[in-house]
Assembly symmetry: C2
């Protein structure tokens, strides 16, 4: 029996659970998001989600094929929130910067979901809308098609890559995250000048800055690089590696 899971549209009989709650796909996803934010990365389990909803855990399998299915639904919500209220028009640079920071921020709002979904291609409506917007900004600015695709590719992958990396730190259990941050003080800041002269020389700067995100700096670099190509076109960088 290959798991039915009737679609949300075909769902009719809204039988309340023992505790009186009437379930729906939307309610479950929203509750899951809230649990992730409020109770941390380990806070979301099927059992706890059922408990929070006032329903038996197994009930959720009437709505999602499994945890992975639920995760993808959450991810779809994330992309939508990133684009929510976005208005096109204006400078291509400002537009790209805004889009990048929006996507980055939206993912960091829900790190656990971000980690699971940032590297996936959904092909769903919100994702396509974002891609169309980015390409529109670049082509509207006058980039020839192959340049536009190159910048687009670097832009979206860099944004998602940083979103995933930064989200992964936030998604760690509190103790592991604190341990990571402590390493800058406890290990790097105490390396002897004799064996590690360069780290020793800049240790205070490392402690001060390494727990910030490097994405804004990387994004500006990308925008600078793209702008310089626009005014005086240069050839693309040598042989991109296969992945």
């Amino acid at each position: 029996m290959p798991k039915p899971v009737v679609g949300e549209s075909a769902r009719r009989r809204r039988r309340p659970t023992k505790s009186g709650v009437v379930l729906s796909e939307g309610l479950i996803v929203r509750t899951a998001l809230r649990m992730l934010r409020e109770h941390g990365p380990a806070g979301l389990t099927v059992r706890r989600l059922g408990l929070a909803l006032g329903a038996d855990p197994s009930t959720l399998y009437r709505y999602f094929r499994g945890v992975d299915d639920l995760t993808l639904a959450i991810g779809d919500l994330l992309i939508g929130r990133a684009m929510d209220g976005w208005r096109g028009g204006g400078d291509w640079r400002a537009g790209l910067r805004d889009l990048g920071l929006r996507i980055h921020a939206a993912y960091l709002e829900h790190p656990q979901a971000a980690v699971l979904t940032a590297s996936r291609i959904s092909g769903k409506a919100h994702e396509i809308a974002a891609d169309e917007a980015i390409l529109g900004l670049l082509r509207g600015a006058g980039f020839p098609d192959h340049e536009a695709v190159g910048v687009y590719h670097t832009f979206i992958d860099m944004t998602l890559a940083f979103a995933a990396l930064d989200a992964a730190s936030l998604a760690l259990p509190a103790e592991a995250r604190e341990a990571d941050e402590e390493i800058w003080r406890a290990t790097y800041a105490r390396l002897p000048r004799a064996t590690h002269p360069n780290i020793a020389a800049v240790a205070p700067l490392l402690v001060a800055h390494m727990n910030d995100s490097a994405y804004p700096a990387a994004l500006e670099m990308l925008l600078d690089s793209a702008a310089s190509r626009l005014t005086r076109p240069i050839s693309r960088p040598a042989k991109p590696g296969q992945v």
Copy 2:
């Protein structure tokens, strides 16, 4: 009782397991890495690792505080392999490019492990060696300390971020990865010009390039940006976001 776990150096009594294997931290980590490659990301559990080693699962807790500790050790092994055979000296640009591509490639050699470790800071020997090398290149090139730290931060985070993103695609189950790649042809390449003019205009270029890694291009951008700061210093980009 806060879990002892004697260090590898202080370890003396090498009592063989029931199956005759003599354990060591290195053997455990290498076995774990092999299991990750052969059996996928979900293939590594303490129980299975114990089985593969011919030892009781609980024995591993004599060597690692827990799975998290083991994960960090695996990550350091990856960095060690990236740095293996690296020789300093020469142009700072060439040196940074080489280091970046080495780290990126080393992580992609073990995608499942990369996904687990790319966002972590271990503070172990190989990681420190890599950081010292990067900072040495930058300070040796004449970057003032705060610039060197800024470039270092962007460089290492960008490299690890792309490594994690690209590795995540490779680490997906084959069917899911193929489904993701197919979306470029099945969805993006078929969007009507009327509703998505920009995607439609460049669809063939997207299909041709989107499954490559954007890391080499991003890396060149970073090197260009750093070089321009070296010849004619500019201020750092505005207020990096907190993470």
